[in-house]
Amino acid sequence: MPYISNTDQQRAAMLAEIGLKPEDLFSDVPPELRCGGLNLPEGLSEQEVCSRLEAIASQNSASLRCFLGGGFYDHFIPSAVFALTGRSEFYTAYTPYQPEISQGMLQAIYEFQSMICRLTEMEASNASLYDGGTALYEAAMMALRLTHRSKVIVDDSVNPIYRTMIRSYLRNRNVDVELAETENAQGLANRSAILEALDEQTAAVIVQNPNFFGCIDDFSDLAAAVHSKGTLLIVSCYPISLGLLKTPGAMGADIVTGEGQSLGLPLSFGGPYLGFMATRSEYVRQMPGRIVGQTTDAKGRRGYVLTLQAREQHIRREKATSNICSNEALCALTALVYLCLLGKEGLQQTAQLCADKAGYAYERLTAIPGVRPHFPAQCWFNEMVLDLPCEAAEVTARLLERGYAAGFPLGRYYKGMNRSLLIAVTEKRTREEIEMLAEEIGAIVESLRSDIR
């Protein structure tokens, strides 16, 4: 058996020294509870498991040219990211409960918190949450605590995956929270519906920028309206876009969350990802999750510790701000390393490159007869909704066979949008890939049209 160091002889000697027989080790378990062996296969050697996993991995197609986004993007990951996060002093440690031997991770988390504040133009950040969706749910819970109110409004242009999650969390509690969801038409946050639903019981309004359709919004007006009712504005954002776009902080957001996957984390079939959260200083004591703070030792040397732990489950138990314990520390480290490598210029250039390539894809794709933008009046960042003259799901299915993950058909989440395709373009997509995609879509649209004729 690998990974067990002691030999049979050592075990026998250890048992003898403490006066036990092998069968004594489980003598406290009533016989009727012992399972008497599991119905599982025998263990494999490392060599065997490598062959098996290589075969299994080959049943996945990770070489599709990826225009699929929906909040999860195929960005380039510099080699140094893997090299540094692969250092086992980081990844084989746990939560830094002993600060003197955990200064590496603690300082990194402090730097991560700083980086998130600088990106979003907010004042305080935590050490990470599980993902962008749970971060949004935690933000809603935080707003409910801060306002002592009972209602949350979510705009329809917020990622439908996150809306499903929020719905699941809020509706399966033993205490009810009213959840109002707007319906959308124009590609921006539905202000009239939000203001109509906004009342004295509303703890928070949740919006997203760029929103699920890729459209860029400015919530400054909404922030003012929401604040006049004593309600908090929660903004979910896409961190790469903040290389260019107006920040949630500048718009007057109270709580900012997001999915950090785009910051150096591979798509990895849905996780592990990285939820982040930032807020105003005045709300920090209601923020969930770990927080690292700077302090000094007796000799005045600068160091870092987990702080404000009186918010947390291991101290406050049922009165804690959240039940979270393990978070996504290694993913936060990954995002930090990524942002350090890109730097001030690099992040801006990457965001601009995404926007430019998406712009080129837009030009090429809308040149196809019958392909039109769904929200022609809106600005968008690197993702766009195009209306096809046929079922979008049919087009993406055909394109998979041609080696393209061409985008996400919106009919799955939005009624009446069966012909709408959400297309994302990152800096990784080349001019050639974009042109080929346009050619392929053009051909399919043409053939489907002639079928119809």
Binding site: Q313, H314, R317
Partner: protein, 482 residues
């Protein structure tokens, strides 16, 4: 060490971004742009590599040395799991692919990993079905309690309370409260297990369920566990098993056989996935047949033709607790580990974990108080009360002195029902030589507590910083360099 921001030099770049190969096209309106660029540091790749290599050298992991952090199961993380989890076929797979029409065909390998891990966990826990969605143990707890709420709502039950023993992890009451339940604390009896008498008194028609760690946080297996579960069932309550300590009984006892209705499994504990400096983890939840309908969707199913698919059509499902299929990269590592240890290996894990913990406990008995001196499972709890009374030495001082001896300290001051607690979990991986070196260090510290306690108060001396001022950190809050 300087902050990364303090090392920034204007105009330095760490990564060359490719030239634009398309015409500049997407004109973003100026009012939508940020006023000034985000204050990211400007560094070369070498600067970044030196910075983070420097930080890593100020961090202690399992690969450095013994890490007996009780209740966290800091076992060795096999390198092969790391390597295989980074195969490109897994690493670059978009999670929305199987949601595209005919997209499932492009993710068969990943779906198979999820399906087979689920099946192995069913067998290990005796449960009827699993969700792989929860992204950590506490997330699994919340998922379980949400299913508990859905179950009671479905049956028209008016339940308000979840019972939790006083020795429980803080996440248990926090999870129950997060799902809207009132928490009532059940005391432990002199044996260290939940008091059956107190439980009987506290059980009412309002009891939604109970949350129990098995074995408990004192490392004790409650011989009356089945009776506890049956009592809870008698008021139509559900029994939730916190599987944080599964490593002690894996292959030996299945939570469902003990009467539990639900269990979460911390893959980063029992199944050796790295703890990542605080995550990512994974906390799949298993349930008995009558609760299977409440599991989050989608579930991965195997179709008649042998292909794998996602199934969403479960009308009673609580919905989604994570965006996709859980922390896939973590699940994948656990899958590789399970394939390697196999049926027999799992039993050896439990046996060796239990032997190592009892070995430490017995060897330390002459030097430290052991409040529950009988047989323990995978961890033992000792107390520094006698050191405190004799020479003013706290559990904290012992922990810091262990750092100077080259070890990661055990969990301190938990469970809270033991004064000056040190909770030691050696795991099955550690050799007798390592255990003996640790025991020797502990004995040496016990001697020092008698002879020269002031040296322990000064520890640690070998680290880049000494004991840090936590009060100052909280009062003069500085949590970001803006």
């Amino acid at each position: 060490m300087k902050l990364v921001f303090e090392k920034s030099v204007p105009c330095r770049q760490g990564l060359r971004i490719p030239e634009r190969d398309v015409p500049a096209g997407n004109r973003l309106k100026k009012e939508y742009l940020r006023e000034r660029p985000a204050g990211l540091p400007e560094l070369s790749e070498l600067d970044v590599v030196r910075h983070f290599t420097g930080l890593s050298r100020r961090n202690f992991g399992v690969d450095n040395n013994f890490y007996p952090l009780g209740s966290c199961t800091m076992k060795y993380n096999p390198k092969v799991c790391e390597r295989l989890s980074s195969l490109p076929g897994f690493l670059y797979l978009h999670p929305l692919l199987p949601q595209l029409h005919s997209g499932g065909a492009f993710t068969q390998g990943a779906l198979r990993v999820l399906y087979e891990t689920d099946r192995m966990l069913r067998e290990i826990c005796g449960m009827a079905a699993f969700t792989m969605q929860p992204m950590a143990g506490a997330h699994g707890e919340l998922t379980g309690i949400m299913m508990m709420a859905a179950y009671h709502r479905d049956r028209g039950n008016r339940k308000t309370t979840v019972l939790i023993p006083d020795s429980a992890h803080g996440t248990n009451p926090a999870s129950a409260a997060a799902a809207g339940y009132t928490v009532k604390t059940v005391p432990s009896d002199e044996s260290g297990c939940m008091s059956i008498a107190a439980l009987k008194e506290m059980l009412t028609e309002q009891t939604a369920g109970i949350m129990l760690t098995c074995p408990n946080t004192l490392g004790l297996f409650n011989p009356h566990i089945k009776e506890v579960c049956e009592l809870v069932h008698s008021v139509d309550g559900l029994a939730y098993c916190d599987g944080a300590n599964l490593n002690a009984i894996v292959g030996k006892v299945r939570p469902a056989d003990a009467g539990f209705d639900m269990v979460h499994v911390n893959l980063h504990k029992t199944f050796a996935t790295p703890h990542g400096g605080g995550g990512p983890g994974a906390g799949p939840v298993g349930v008995v047949e009558r609760l299977a309908g409440y599991l989050p969707v989608p579930l991965v199913v195997r179709q008649e033709d042998g292909t794998y698919a996602l199934e969403y059509d479960h009308p009673k499902s609580i919905g989604c607790v994570s965006p996709f299929y859980g922390n896939f990269g973590v699940i994948l590592r656990a899958y590789v580990y399970l394939l390697m240890v196999g049926r027999e290996g799992l039993e050896r894990i439990a046996e060796n974990a239990v032997l190592n913990a009892n070995y430490i406990k017995e060897k330390l008995k002459p030097y430290y108080e052991v409040p529950y001196p009988g047989l323990c499972k995978h961890e033992c709890v000792i107390s520094a009360v006698s050191q405190l009374h004799e020479s003013g030495i706290h559990a904290l001082d012992i922990a810091k002195a262990l750092i100077d001896a080259g070890f990661h300290p055990p969990t301190m001051y938990f469970p809270t029902i033991v004064k000056e607690a040190l909770m030691i979990e050696p795991t099955e991986c550690e050799s007798r030589e390592t255990l003996d070196a640790f025991i020797e260090a502990m004995i040496d510290i016990a001697e020092k507590a008698k002879q020269e306690p002031q040296t322990l108060k000064a520890a640690p001396l070998t680290t880049p910083v000494g004991r840090l001022d936590e009060t100052k950190a909280a009062r003069q809050l500085n949590i970001a360099c803006l």
